[in-house]
Every structure is written in C-alpha cells, then in structure tokens.
Symmetry: C2
Subunit: 670 residues, 2 copies
C-alpha cells in the first residue's frame, strides 16, 4: 500500500522508523523491530507530553525518559536527534554500533547526553525508573511548598515483554505500587513477540491483571500502530491518576511497516536486509534517502528546542521566586544540585581508640550512616527487609511511604535486585541524592547485575553488605559468603572495601560518600560479630587501600596482611612473633582497588618486593590473592563452602585463630 501523502504526524513517526532502519542496516547489526513498532507511542510521548530542554539535557526539572527495552536504542537515538539534542547528530547515527561512537548498541548514559540510565539487560530500566520516580517524589516532598512547586516532573518508560518477564521488574513494580508513585508512567510495547518467537511460547500470563495486583493503574491502547489519539488519551488518563503508577498496554506490531518481516521474531534483532528495506520504504511511502529526514518533520520535531527553552526559563523564574521566599531550602537544593558536599562534612565520622568497646563493623556502619544523615541531606536508602540486621535505619527520619515521601528510610522488602536497580535510578536522577542499598553480602549475588550497572554507568550508590564471612555462623553455607568478595573485586569501576574496625569503617564511608559524589559506586563488606578497635587503624589509611598497621624496626622478616575481621588475628600474631624476636610488619588491606590506584612508590613502601615471606589472612577465598602473596607466600583462607555452626566455632575450625596465624607464619619463616 503506497501512501500518497503523509500527514505531518506520519512523517514524524516514519522519520523515527527510517533512521532506525537505516542505521541498523548500515551497521549490519541491531534491533529494528522495536523502533518500528514503538515509533507512534514515542512520537506522541515526546512531541506532546514530555517536558525537557534538548539544549540542556541536565535541566533539573525535566521529565525523565527510560527506554527499558534498551536493545531498541535506535529509537532513543532517533528521538534525541529529531528533538534537537546536540549529543546525537546524523553522523553519530551513521556510526551506530561502531567503536567509540555516541550511539552504542544499547543506551549508555555515560556516552550519550540525554540518556538517563544505561539499559540493555532487561528489567533494569523499568526498575531504574522506579528509582527516578522515588527521587522525584522525595525531592518534591522535601522542597515543594504550598505556594511554590519547583519539583514536578514525570518518569516515562517504554518497556516490552522481555522486561516484563524479568523478576527484577516485578520486584520494583510491586514496590512502586505499594509506594503509590503516581508520576511513573510506563508504556508497554505489547507486541507478543520476543527473541524466540511468539509470547505464546512461554509468556501467557495476564500482565495487566498482575499490575493491577501490584496496585498500578492499567490501561490499554488497542491499536498502537495508527491510533495516535488513543495513545494521547491514555497518557492523559495516566497522568490524571496521581496516587498510582500507570501501565499503558499499547498493542503494536513489531517491525511495523516491513511487509515480510513485521510481526516476526526475525525483525527483533537483525537488520532488515537491502531488499526488505526497499520494500518497507515502498509500503510506507517513504521516498527519502537513507538518513534523510523530511524538512517538515524535522521542523516540527525541533519545536522541542523552543518549547524546552521556555520550560526551563519558566522554571528558573519560578525557582527565583522560591529562593526569595525559602532561602534555606533553596540553598540546600542548590548545594545538592551543585554536586558539592557540605564543608567539613567528613568531620562527623566517628573515630575510635582501642579503649572504645569492640563492635561489629555493621554496627559501626550504622553509626556512620546516622552521623552522615545530618550533613549529607541527599543520603537516602534502606535494606532488603534486613533493617535491624544491616543496621541501616536512619533514626532521624521516618519511612519513605505514601504521604511521607520526605522520609529517607526506604523499605525495599525482600527484593535485592529491585533494590539495586532502584538505587541506580535514584543516583542517576542527578540531583545529589546518594542512595544506599543493604543486604547480606552473600545476597549480592541476587543483585549482581545491578551492581555491575552501577559501576558501568557511573551511578554513585553505596552497597552496604553485612554478614560478610563464615563468621556469621549458624545460618550456614547458603548465607556464608566465601567467594563473594573476590567476585565483586573483579568488577571494574567498583570500589570494594572491607574495614577492620571503627576507624576503618569511618574511613570506608569517607571514601564511599566522596565516590558517590563523583558518580562512582562503593561496596562495603561488614561483619556480623564484634571486633576490637585496633591500634594503628585510621580513616586516612582506608583511602590508600592498604597501609602499614604496625611494624618492627628494619626490614620485616615477614608481612602479615589482613582484612576486616581477620586483621585482629594478624595484629595478635605479630605481637607473639615479635615477642620471639621476629621482625613483623602488619598490613591492613581494606581495598584492592584503592591500593591499585596509589603510585608505585607508595605500594612498594607498603609491600616491598624484596620481602617475599608474606601471609595473608582473610576468611574468604584465596582467589586472586596471589597478587599480594607472591610465589613464596601463603594464606589462611576459606576455599570451600562454609558450615552451619556458631561463628566463633566456624572461625576456629577453619583456622582463623592467632595461634594458627603464628604457626603458619613460622612455617614460612622456616
């Protein structure tokens, strides 16, 4: 069917489609199906509803858009280009999926301005969006006044069947329903096709009913291919419901417009191929060259630039009024948006001497969080139903609940993965919020994909992981991490810290807050049981990743390296060995990444190459420790799964005693 003349809307919509088709074709790689099918809903959303400034992608009060179905990235790049963002030019689109282009295969917020979060792994984006909506609700409750609204924006998502199958999205959406996040609006590209074919193969649940069960407002658009008015009305209706998030099921045809490949799995993730591209051009009446956008369409699309400038200008005026009336609040918001922490914020972190009572680092972590709450107004977070185990409640605040979004304690429920992705969204809202998410270290496994994305996408979150070894005891091997910390150390761009006592815990938070402020995530591994505060530990030492805790005069005969709850064993063993005339250095290694970042001279000074007798002590896997142990060292480690027994019994049976450290050291010394 050749369309004689296209309406302006059709021109605008097909512009999206063909940029996507042509880019994927040129790259011979990519996913044309979703952009082709979701183009109408994306047009209605971006052209008629969303408030953003293409020339200022970081404008604070912009609506947020998340393409949770990240494989449809050409949809997002087309939108950014058409709407007038500088971050995506036609040249960029032609470089889709090429080395270091600004149009990578899946949207990356750190590569392409205008992209809010990094998507691709399914289920993450919609879950990030719950976090973005939480951020908006929190800031609105915190800053808006009866006579002055300065925080007021929506979070829109396009997601598909894949995201809806993923468990993480169920977790986040259940919480979103409980929290009544009325300004979260998801458009579900309901095309009944996934990679393997029809959703009849594996996904026949009633998605609308499930979302109603979550407490969402659910609507349906029967014809998402051509009925723009219905899409428009649905978004209006969604906005009108203010106490529930909304899910709009938009029935579409994947690959709409392709005569032979529409509605098939094949059009999901492969280029159409030359002849089908031609056939699609014919079918949709598109007479334009590859990458050519008709002038009328581009002019219409580019009205977003003028609109955006106006939105921002109005907001600036509005904020100026607010500032005049509410100076203190405005100052706090400005500080948060500036990315600056309060002067001297770190002074609230407690310091300890050996006379202070022994305590668990999870308790000490709780003290840090509570002290920081007063000076870091952006700090907000919680645990996955382990508040009194992870010690993460902020006493100065209530729970973040409907009607109380100003509060800072988020009750995530038993939803570790959802918590992770939600925290990423809160961090990437870009408003100076510093989210923390907590659970038992072994359950980092449940949320590893979200932790990875925090590292990749520069999301400044703090992952608070307690019960960090066999020391946790009776809960047994399903709960006792042995390999977990190694598995996290290996993630690039993630700082992992395992503090030994109170000073090191404070030092960990100094690092973590600074890192979050610079959009880098940190993960803390904390003990369940108490350790003494050791002489020689310091906040500053943690920032260096490894430092000498104590030393004998002259070149050491042996270096004892410990982390976390095992450092005390090294300290105790050193005393005994020195008593027998040995020269012993004790080194604390709270963080490998931070140590790696020091210059060679410092690292050599702490672990001199010439001292080859080295004993590491960590109640965890030895995997990777060869880098510090070398070929003549040894380690007391846990290279098997744990056992259900009281913590002290488990530690003793696995060799974590001062006597055993002394014995192993003597073996090395010969």
């Amino acid at each position: 069917m050749v369309v004689a003349t296209q309406s302006l809307e059709e021109l605008c919509i097909n512009s999206i489609r063909f940029l996507a088709i042509d880019a994927v074709e040129k790259a011979k790689s990519g996913h044309p199906g979703l952009p082709m099918g979701a183009a109408p809903m994306a047009f209605v959303l971006w052209d008629r509803f969303m408030r953003f400034n293409p020339k200022n992608p970081k404008w604070f009060n912009r609506d947020r858009f998340v393409l949770s179905a990240g494989h449809g990235s050409m949809l997002q790049y087309a939108l950014l280009y058409l709407a007038g963002y500088d971050s995506v030019t036609l040249e960029d689109i032609k470089e889709f999926r090429q080395w270091e282009s600004r149009t990578p295969g899946h949207p990356e917020n750190f590569m392409t301005s205008g992209v809010e979060v990094t998507t691709g792994p399914l289920g993450q984006g919609i879950s990030n969006a719950v976090g973005l909506a939480i951020a908006e609700a929190h800031l609105a409750a915190k800053f808006n006044k009866p006579d002055s609204t300065i925080v007021d924006h929506y979070t829109y998502v396009i997601l598909g069947d894949g995201c809806n199958m993923e468990g993480v999205s169920g977790e986040a959406c259940s919480l979103a329903g409980h929290l009544g996040l009325g300004k979260l609006i998801a458009l579900y590209d309901d095309n009944h096709i996934s990679i393997d074919g029809s959703t009849d193969l594996a996904f026949t649940e009633d998605v609308g009913k499930r979302f109603e069960a979550y407490g969402w407002h659910v609507l349906t658009v029967e014809d998402g291919n051509t009925d723009l008015e219905a899409i428009h009305k649905a978004i209006e209706a969604a906005k009108a419901v203010t106490d529930k998030p909304s899910m709009i099921k938009v029935r579409t045809t994947i690959g709409y417009g392709s005569p032979n490949k529409a509605n098939t799995a094949g059009v999901h993730g492969s280029a159409l191929g030359g002849s089908e591209v031609t056939a699609t051009r014919e079918k949709l009446g598109w007479e334009y060259e590859p990458f050519q956008v008709p002038e009328d369409a581009l002019n219409h699309w580019r009205k977003a630039v003028e609109r955006g400038a106006k939105y921002e200008e109005e907001w600036n005026k509005n904020f100026a009024d607010y500032k005049a009336k509410y100076g203190a609040e405005a100052a706090q918001l400005e500080q948060m948006l500036s990315g600056k922490l309060a002067e001297g914020w770190e002074k609230v972190l407690p310091t300890y001497t050996p006379e202070d009572k022994a305590d668990s680092t999870r308790n000490q972590s709780g003290k840090c969080l509570n002290a920081l709450a007063d000076v870091v107004p952006g700090l907000i977070g919680g645990s996955a139903d382990l508040a009194h185990s992870c010690m993460t409640l902020l006493k100065s605040s209530g729970d973040f609940q409907p009607g109380h979004y100003e509060n800072r304690n988020i009750r995530f429920g038993v939803r570790e993965h959802g918590m992770g992705a939600i925290c990423n969204g809160i961090a990437l809202h870009g408003s100076g919020l510093i989210p923390y998410g907590a659970t038992f270290l072994v359950f980092a496994d449940y949320m590893r994909a979200a932790i990875r994305i925090s590292a990749l996408s520069h999301a400044g979150a703090i992952w608070v992981m307690t019960h960090d070894s066999i020391q946790l005891g009776e809960d047994g091997p399903t709960h006792q991490p042995v390999e977990t910390i190694a598995s996290l150390r290996v993630i690039p761009q993630l700082t992992v810290i395992r503090p030994a006592d109170g000073n090191e815990t404070s030092g960990s938070y100094k690092v973590a807050i600074e890192a979050a402020n610079q959009n880098r995530p940190t993960l803390l591994a904390l003990s369940r049981l108490a350790q003494p505060n050791l002489p020689g530990t310091s906040i500053e030492g943690v920032a260096k990743g490894a430092y000498t805790l104590s030393d004998s005069d002259g070149t050491p005969d042996i270096i004892l390296m410990g982390t976390g709850s095992e450092l005390q064993l090294c300290a105790g063993a050193a005393d005994k060995l020195r008593g027998e005339g040995k020269k012993v250095r004790v080194v604390s290694i709270p963080s490998w990444e931070l140590f790696d970042a020091q210059d060679a001279a410092y690292r050599e000074s702490v672990l001199p190459k010439g001292v080859t007798k080295r004993l590491a002590v960590e109640a965890a896997s030895s995997f990777g420790w060869c880098r510090y142990i070398g070929s003549e060292g040894a380690m007391i480690s846990v290279d098997r799964f744990g056992v259900s027994a009281p913590g002290p019994v488990a530690l003793e049976k696995f060799g974590f005693t001062v006597d055993n450290v002394v014995a192993k050291a003597k073996e090395l010394l010969g």
Copy 2:
C-alpha cells in the same frame, strides 16, 4: 489459656512446635516463628496427604516437599523426625545449628536425607519446586501408558512472604502457570510479617490476584492456626484442579502460641528466651520436657512408616507389571534411576581436524547437545529466550508445553534466575534428568544465586553460557563479559570450562555430562564468532583442565597460555616466534578447576616452575591469573568494561591479535 486435654491432632501439631522452640532455644539461634505458625498446615499435609517412605527417602515415586521458607528449617527437621526418617534423630535436633550436625541452619539436601533441595536464600525453593514438577510431568508423559501409571506424584511447597517478594519466584511461577503444572501445590504461610515487621511496610500487593494472573488456581484458608478441616479441604480442592498449579493462601499467626511474641517480627528469627518458652508452654498447655514428644503423638506420626512401606510396595508391584508389558521403557527408566549412563555414550561427541570449517563454540555446543540427546535420554533444557543465539534447541524434540510434556526443549522466557532455580529442581528430582540452562555469559549475573546453589547442593546441571567476551561486539559493554568468568571460577564446586574449538567443546560436554551424572554442575563459556579447529586440541585434554597444545624441543623459552577464542592467537604467535628460533610452548587452559584437580607431577609437566616467562592471553579480566603467570609473566587481558563495536574491531583495539601476542612475548623474552 490452659488447654485441659489436647486432641490427638493438637498433640501432633504442638509436637512440631515445641521441637522447634526447644531446638532454637538450645542453639540460641534460629527461626521459631514459622514452625510455630505453619505447624498445622504441615501436619495436615504430611499426615494426611503426602506419600513418601520415611525409610526410603529416595523412593522414586514419592511426593516431593520443599520448605521454600528455608529459615523455618526446624519445621522440616521436626517433620522428618516425627515421620520416622532415620536421618533426623532427637540427638540431631538437639544439635541444631552446630558444627557438622545433620540439622544445619537452613535445609541442605546434601547433609540431611529427606531434604530435597537446599533452601535459605528466599525464592529459590518455590522455583526449584517448579523444576521438580516439570520433572514429574516430563517423566509421566514419557513413561506412563494408558493402562499403566508409574509416575504420579505431587510437589508441595511451603513458602512465605519473603519468597513471594523475590523476583526469581515470580519468574518461575509465571512459567509454571503457563505450563499448567497441575501437580504443583504451594501453601503460602500468609502471616503478614517479615523480618522488618508488618508486610504493610513494603508488600501490599494482592498476591492472590497476581497468581491468578499467572494462571494459577488460588484458594484461601482464613484460619490456618486452628481450622484443620479447611486446610484439608483446600488441599483436596487443589489436587482436584489438574491443569493449573495451586496456591493456597493460609492465614496464620507467626509464632502462634507465644503469648507475648506471636505476630511480631521478633519471633521470626530469634529464640523465644527462657521465660517466653515457659509462657508458651503454659499457653498451649504443653507439659512435656524439652525435646520430649508425647507417646500418642509419636505413635500417630509414625504411622507414616507403615503407610510409606505400603506405598512403595504397591508401586513396586505396579512397576513389575509395567516392566512385563513395556520392557524397553522400563529398562530406560531403570537406567536413568540407576545413575548409569549408556555404554559408549561419549562416542557420539564429534571430533574435528583443522580441515573442518572454523565455527563458533556456541554452534559446536549445539551440535554436541543434539548428538547427546540420542544417547542421554535424561537431557532436557533450554534457554532464557535465546534459543537461536545459544544454539540450544534439540532438533529431535518439540517444546515442553501443556499437552506435550514428553518434549525436551524448555522455553524459559526472559527469566534467567528462574531458569537456574528450575534446572536445580530438575536435577535434584534425582531421576537421572540432566538439565541445561542457557543464556549470554554476562547474564550469569542474573542467575548467580542459583548457580551457587547448584554447586553447593550437588545439582548436576549444565550452564551453557554463550557470547563470552568482547568478541560479541556491537551489543556493547552491558553484554560483553569481562569479569564474569573470573567471578564464576571462584565459586567452589563449580567446574568452569572455556573451550577453544570443536574438540575442546566436545571435551567440555564429556566432562559436563559425567559431572552431572555425579551430581556436579558445570558451566561452559562459549564464543559467538567462529574460531578455527586447532591442531593439537583434544577431548582428553579438556578433562585435564590444561594441556600442552604444541611445543618446541627442549625447555621452552616462553609459555603462551590461552583459553577459548584466544588460544588461536597463541598458536599463531608460536608459529611466528618459532620461525625466529624461539622455543615456545603453547598451553591450552580450558578449565582451572580441572587442572587444579590433577596431581602435582602433571601440573608441573605442563607449567614447569622453572619456566618463568609466561604470557597469558584471554579476552577477560586478569584477576586471578597471577597463579599461572607468576611474577615474571604478563597477560593480554581486558581489565575494563568493553565497548560497542564489531567484534573483530573490539578484539583488535584491545590487543587481541597475533602480532600483539608476538610483541608482548618478545618484551618478556627481552
């Protein structure tokens, strides 16, 4: 309220309660709340419905029971003891949560006979149960005849709010609904309490409605504390619906019977304390000593022994009849149950020479699976919506769907974590089924918790992970694993293999099938793009974990170590270096764990200590490679996130070329 005389049922139910209370009290650790609240439903289930033989916990046609709320382990141990299993004695119960007891903190199938799967991490058990039900349905469809039913058992689960919040359970239950698994019956301990307190805090969704949306049959028991008849009727009604799994919401009071702690979060995970134990005894009229079970109750409970013997005897007779009529089928079932693989099964694995066309190891994996399908009748599995990417469809079979449970291709949908836990259930059904689950290697992150449990709980699954490096190209850093394989190598009891070509892929499957047959999981990392079949690779070499691919005469000047798609670069570089007169050994290291398991002499023969110039080449993180590289070696690795670009471009930019291997080798040689 003191109860003057208790009915027999009350005695039986309170026997469960007080064994749990007393065990947790003695251990000063554990979770009394769930056993106290769920005791009535557990009694009705075990006493009146479940068919099992306490003296033969492995009887093939037993009903399976899973305590998904694994923290309530004392409930399960009490049931096993009361019902007459030899694996849990009163002494064992007194040793609850102590070193090496048979009553560890969370149920461990490898420690305690009668426990089907290892639970504790929430959401896993119910998802395993979906796998157990899939196994039953498959074996029933495969073996039952119109006139002879030999596979006929139910899978029962007790789960709580925690499991219902976890995303993994949503994935598995959605699939269970799609598959119409009518013999899966879940009892939901609906007590409105989780660790942090009331479910009002974070979990207010309509669980029943959600499960209806999944296609489950949902019932409610209003008073699960005292209305045994209602529980009984509900289970009957659940059994009567044969084309849908059933969820029975049983309203209970957590910690039922404790006057001061019932219905609080505190009773979830802490011992009651001496005075509350006394108060509970008073309230429930329990005059017995700790660990004392009234004779009437024990006698009643122990009728399960006689019943169980009868069930098994009847089944044996039934099976003898079946065997007489259907000899071939009976023989196949017997072989599967015997744990023996067919004679010469491994001969079907293809072998290759360098003349065979270059191919990806994911393709070669697909060939192995298809060849094995004919000789390993227990092989069953699928992918998370990536059938044509992971190459995991068995061509000789259709899809496992309602009405076609005899088929072997399971369509898991985009549900990696659910897939993992389901496969664990299939493996632990203990019937010779060998499940495989496939996705992209980077998405092992989504299912890591299930992979960990496969290793811990001796579940013989095969994890097929494709698209294993930056080589996958354009999909970019969210899809390109760099740290993943290291993070999996560190898991104890998991064999990770990264084959280089066709022979090594066949060798991987030889290992994987043997391992699964011995209840050990294996994970394969496979390439997206093609590699040549290299001279010197072999099936046998893989089993050794590392082996010499090629060598010069005499002591090598340098050893080049490669894995997977990078081995070819080592081979190519060796040719060039030898051409310049260098003595070069090329070592393939498909599996660290398998190499570690070889004796010292073999390991020394492959990587002699004296040869210190070593260059490793793997398109992944260098984390952990120090063990093979030593202090004088080097590595071409990827220690950062990847980039969206065509695979060959990415490899080249990151230094994975023969020329770069030659250059780095020469740097080392000096």
